[in-house]
């Protein structure tokens, strides 16, 4: 419990740091939401100035930051200039969609990578292992963007999968089963893109971690006790190899998240990605900061989950000894 509390505190501190930095960077970026209005002949400079005062953009940075923190505490997360509403409701829907995409991609990627990696490690040096390693390296070289575009092309040519959005028109009218099916069909393309993009890295790490453990004395001893091979691999080797993999799990959430933002834009998935892009282009600064904050929360949650898993997996961490 103390371990968890420490981790949470650490996370809060990090969130604070990220918010300060994103405020700074957004403030340093040239231009503002009002620039386009200023260029428009229909809007008088007085109106622009009034808006500027209304949004508090004339105040110094620390004051703006303090106001933003207050609005965060109220649950509003600042104000979107473009949508003219508090940022939180906008962000929440988008964040949920991103979570659905990243979450299922993370699960699927690991659920695929572990058996493949274990399998390759158990056959180290043989043809299947060499083929796995070679194809992982080849996949690693394919840029995510190219992968996404290729899959889109495939979807367009074959019509097997919808090429964008999260649900079909008339989704609300569908029954529960049909709803799940429709959502899954929409989810397939972006998830496959993310999984294929991450899989090579994960497989390589799982394989390497397993190979190291398979060489260890306690595994040889277990083999000497006649423990069957499958049990040896999954009940002995995998838990022992898990520590670095669990840490990698935390990182993989971050990596998947950033790739996901890109894939969302390409495949028009209504997540944080397209919103963030739009907000950046419009200099809708609180929306930008909000999207960054949500991404950070996801990243932290992934790492926190990794810490909890690490704690659960390794008794040496639990008992605080070596």
């Amino acid at each position: 419990m103390r371990f968890l509390a420490g981790r949470l505190l650490h996370g809060l501190f990090l969130l604070f740091g990220v918010s300060v930095l994103s405020f700074l960077f957004v403030a340093l970026a040239p231009g503002s939401f009002l620039d386009e209005m200023r260029l428009s002949p229909q809007i008088s400079p007085e109106t622009v100035g009034a808006l500027r005062a209304q949004y508090g953009l004339d105040r110094p940075l620390p004051v703006r930051y303090a106001r933003w923190v207050r609005s965060v505490l109220r649950g509003e997360l600042g104000f979107s200039f473009a949508y003219n509403t508090p940022a939180a409701p906008l962000l929440r829907v988008r964040a949920r969609n991103t979570l659905v995409l990243t979450g299922s991609a993370t699960l699927l990627a690991w659920a695929t990578a572990i058996p493949i990696g274990v399998w390759a490690a158990a056959r180290k040096g043989r043809v299947v292992d060499q083929l796995t390693t070679a194809s992982a390296t080849a996949l690693l070289a394919v840029p995510d963007l190219l992968l996404a575009l290729g899959l889109l092309l495939l979807a367009v040519r074959t019509g097997w999968f919808p090429t964008g959005g999260m649900v079909s028109l008339g989704f609300e009218a569908l029954g529960f089963g049909a709803k799940v099916k429709d959502a899954a069909r929409h989810l397939t393309l972006p998830v496959v893109t993310l999984v294929v993009g991450t899989l090579p890295v994960l497989v390589k790490h799982v394989r390497a971690a397993l190979i190291e453990v398979l060489d260890s004395a306690f595994l040889r001893a277990a083999r000497g006790h006649g423990i069957p091979r499958r049990r040896l691999l999954f009940r002995y080797a995998l838990p022992a190899a898990a520590n670095p993999l669990i840490s990698l799990f935390g990182f993989s959430v971050g990596a998947l998240l950033s790739t996901s933002l890109l894939v969302e834009v390409v495949m028009s998935w209504p997540g944080l990605g397209p919103l963030l892009l739009e907000a950046i282009l419009a200099r809708d600064l609180y929306l930008v900061i909000g999207a960054v904050m949500f991404s950070t929360v996801f990243l932290l949650a992934g790492n926190l989950l990794a810490d909890v898993l690490l704690y659960a997996n390794d008794p040496r961490i639990r008992t605080g000894e070596r």
């Binding site: 004395a217 000497g224 006649g226 423990i227 069957p228 002995y236 022992a240 390794d314 070596r322």
Partner: protein, 379 residues
């Protein structure tokens, strides 16, 4: 049977490894186990009146190669033959790097990658292990032949409770449900620990001392009541007091359970109280074999003499011990990749003869139940 003319067909020496074929006048052929008949100096054969006790483990001409990092094969065990009877304790004595551990691992077909049995036979309770498949071996390992590993610090899974780890061995062989396996594991642990079984059972390896871990390894090895236990340097990493405790425990278990033991050590003193018979190995070969007491009292091979002389004893027995200095065998074992052409011990041997550099010595039986490979005794 004795009235029929009997013809013995002896394969080339070493006799012990040869299969004695006895062709009867009736046209039947009998295969005789070694020990049933003995070669006589004149060339004839002496038949023993009774068939010998069938060996539990019968190793013949075992030859093992390991691979170097570059993939080159190096001979590590060369033509090793020995028997272990049910309930018998056999010790293998030799310096590090003489092939003791490799022999032990080869018996269970647990050689590291690149290692292979080039020739020979390992017969256990009537089954040939050299040609057995991995599935068959899994059933034998831990259940019929088990290993007590050296280095208890690293031979246990670092993240699992020791009770579970003993339970896993039982689970692998008995097919019981997990609860029953855990109960049986507690019974196995109770054989090697006095009291506090539940606390030990729930502990992780890092929470136990070296001696406690070694006891867990012993419990693991005995959990399925094997017929043969191989203990590879069971006390090498323990302090002297714990070492004595563990040796006493092994001795006690041997007496109580009647399990056959193959004990491996570089230290003659460790084998002294435990083994009935010893094999002395040098450079992958058995150089001397015999009942422990007789070998220790009157060693034949110069290498055995050297090893025993370097063992600390009471001051009365060894004059050197009184001066605080023990005699040592000069030099070190030869690189197995570059063995001398003759006897491998020749470069370090104080008693070398001219013939020693030309070829390796053959087996000699200077007295009953003893074998030695040295030209001093014929060879």
């Amino acid at each position: 049977m004795a009235t029929h003319p009997v013809h013995f067909d002896l394969s080339p020496p070493p006799l012990h490894t040869a299969r004695l074929v006895c062709s009867l006048a009736s046209g039947k052929t009998l295969f005789l186990a070694p020990g049933f008949a003995e070669a006589q100096p004149g060339g004839g054969c002496l038949l023993h009146g009774r068939p010998p006790q069938a060996a539990l483990l019968r190793v013949r001409d075992l030859t093992v190669q390991l691979a170097t990092d570059t993939g080159a094969a190096i001979p590590v065990v060369e033509a090793v033959s020995f028997d272990i009877a049910a309930g018998e304790a056999v010790g293998i004595l030799g310096e590090s790097g003489c092939g003791k551990t490799t022999t032990a691992l080869a018996l269970l077909r647990l050689l590291p990658p690149g290692g292979k049995i080039v020739r020979g036979s390992i017969e256990f309770a009537g089954r040939e292990l050299v040609t057995s498949g991995e599935r068959e071996l899994e059933k034998i390992r831990g259940a019929e032949i088990s290993l007590i590993f050296q280095e208890p610090g690293i031979a246990l899974h670092p993240m699992r409770r020791v009770g579970d780890q003993v339970g896993e061995v039982i689970h692998a062989h008995r097919g019981w449900n997990w609860k029953r396996c855990r109960e049986e594991a507690a019974t196995a642990l109770a054989q090697v620990f006095s009291g506090e079984i539940s606390r030990i059972s729930e502990a992780y390896p890092h929470q136990l001392s070296g001696g406690q871990r070694q006891r867990v390894l012993i419990a693991q090895a005995l959990a399925c009541r094997p017929a043969l236990v191989i203990a590879d340097e069971p006390t090498a990493s323990l302090d002297a007091t714990t070492q004595a405790e563990i040796l006493a425990l092994i001795k006690d278990l041997k007496l109580r359970l009647g399990v056959a033991l193959l004990l491996i050590s570089h230290n003659p003193a460790i084998l002294a109280g435990l083994a009935d018979r010893i094999l002395v190995m040098y450079s992958g070969r058995v150089v001397e074999e015999g009942p422990l007491e007789r070998v220790y009292r009157a060693p034949l091979h110069p290498y055995t003499k050297g090893l025993l002389a370097s063992m600390p004893r009471g001051a009365s027995e060894s004059p050197a011990a009184g001066k605080g200095k023990l005699p040592a065998i000069s030099g070190s074992p030869p690189d197995p990749a570059r063995l001398p052409p003759g006897c491998p011990f020749e470069p370090r041997c104080p008693d070398r003869l001219a013939i020693c550099t030309t070829r390796g010595p053959a087996e000699v039986q200077p007295e009953a139940a003893r074998r030695v490979w040295c030209f001093k005794y014929g060879g």
